[in-house]
């Protein structure tokens, strides 16, 4: 359960932030998750709802997930394309020399807190 591992670190970062900023309650956390990051968002939410109860400051914290679309760039022709639709091979020139520009992220964007 790789989602659980990420949640543990997410909770730790939020607790540290709450301590540093003197926050008593975090109402929501917004994560930006890449389309090909390998994170299963349903599992992720289940893990979060289970785990947040252990942390008083996170008790009522909603998890908001924004998806970052995956984009691949072709080194041969320079075009960008949708990773999920076409995979590793460039749909324009059929080169296999391609690399992921974005879509592998898991970033804590912001929190709402008091």
């Amino acid at each position: 359960m790789h989602e659980m591992g990420i949640i543990i670190h997410l909770a730790k970062t939020l607790e540290d932030t709450a301590r540093e900023e003197g926050l008593v309650r975090i109402g929501s956390v917004t994560l930006r998750v890449g389309e090909v990051s390998g994170i299963v968002t349903d599992y992720f939410e289940d893990c979060w709802n289970y785990f947040k109860k252990r942390h008083p400051v996170l008790q009522d914290c909603r998890l908001i997930i924004e998806t970052i679309p995956a984009v691949t760039r072709c080194s041969s022709c320079g075009q960008d394309y949708e990773t999920v639709k076409y995979g590793r091979e460039c749909p324009y020139c059929h080169s296999g020399e391609t690399w992921l520009v974005q879509g592998n992220e898991c970033v804590i964007k912001q929190i709402e807190a008091e």
Binding site: M1, H2, M4, G5, I6, I8, H9, L10, K12, T13, D16, T17, E21, G27, L31, G38, R88, E97, N104, E105, C106, V107, I108, K109, Q110, I111, E112, A113, E114
Partner: protein
């Protein structure tokens, strides 16, 4: 309620812990290797052979192994029989080791007291999650065994991109499998041009010397 922008990687707390651990180990002259692979790739056999060979080269060399597993202590017993220190780490169902778990295991091991000097962290057997979590190791080494197939760099790119070395094990079985070693190397290097590749057989000892010499060189350069 106010909005606070963080824009932090979700694993940034682990990355920070890992960096601190790496520095502390270096100060104490302890070299930690994170060994990752799928289940059944021959990790324990490779480590056993490597320990025997390294201790032959440098008789006093203290080597330790931390076996991360969901359960059981079969592997640890095999390692202890070779005269190396070993500890079994049960991850409690977790599919990978992170920096905090690694630190706790090292403490339980007594590794911070200065010995052993080289420690292998045998990570949980899978090619996905261990690649994402920095353990604080100085070197990341992955194993791909021949029967797994030469297409694995295409299926698990992050593992190949993150590793400093790729050891291709069970080379003695090459006549029985359609494993294209050139294709495997080409696919791995496309993801990671700096990756060092060592085709070996722990059984016939072919290729073991090159891997062990490289490993000692890295340990000395710590």
């Amino acid at each position: 309620m106010k909005v606070i922008e963080l824009n932090k990687n979700a694993l940034s707390s682990n990355d920070a812990d890992a960096e601190i651990l790496r520095g502390e180990l270096k100060e104490k002259g302890i070299f930690l290797i994170n060994l990752m692979s799928a289940a059944g790739s021959g990790k324990t056999t490779l480590i056993s052979r490597t320990i025997t060979d390294l201790r032959e080269r440098e008789p006093g060399l203290e080597i330790g192994v931390m076996e991360a597993d969901i359960a059981s202590d079969v592997d640890a017993a095999a390692i202890e029989a070779l005269g190396a220190k070993s500890i079994q780490v049960h991850t409690g169902g977790c599919c990978h080791m992170d920096a905090v778990m690694t630190r706790e295991s090292l403490e339980a091991f007594g590794a911070f007291e200065g010995s052993p000097r080289i420690i292998f962290l045998e990570n949980v057997g899978n090619l996905i999650c261990p690649a994402e979590f920095d353990t604080g190791a100085h070197l990341k080494v992955m194993i791909l065994s021949l029967p797994e197939g030469d297409d694995k760099p295409l299926k698990y790119p992050l593992m190949f991109a993150e590793s400093d070395a790729l050891i291709i094990t069970k080379m003695d079985a090459a006549p029985y499998f359609d494993f294209d070693i050139d294709a495997a190397c080409r696919r791995a290097k496309a993801l990671n041009p700096d990756i060092a590749v060592f085709p070996v057989s722990a059984k016939t000892r072919d290729g073991m010397q090159e891997w062990e010499a490289w490993l000692l060189e890295k340990a000395e350069a710590l």
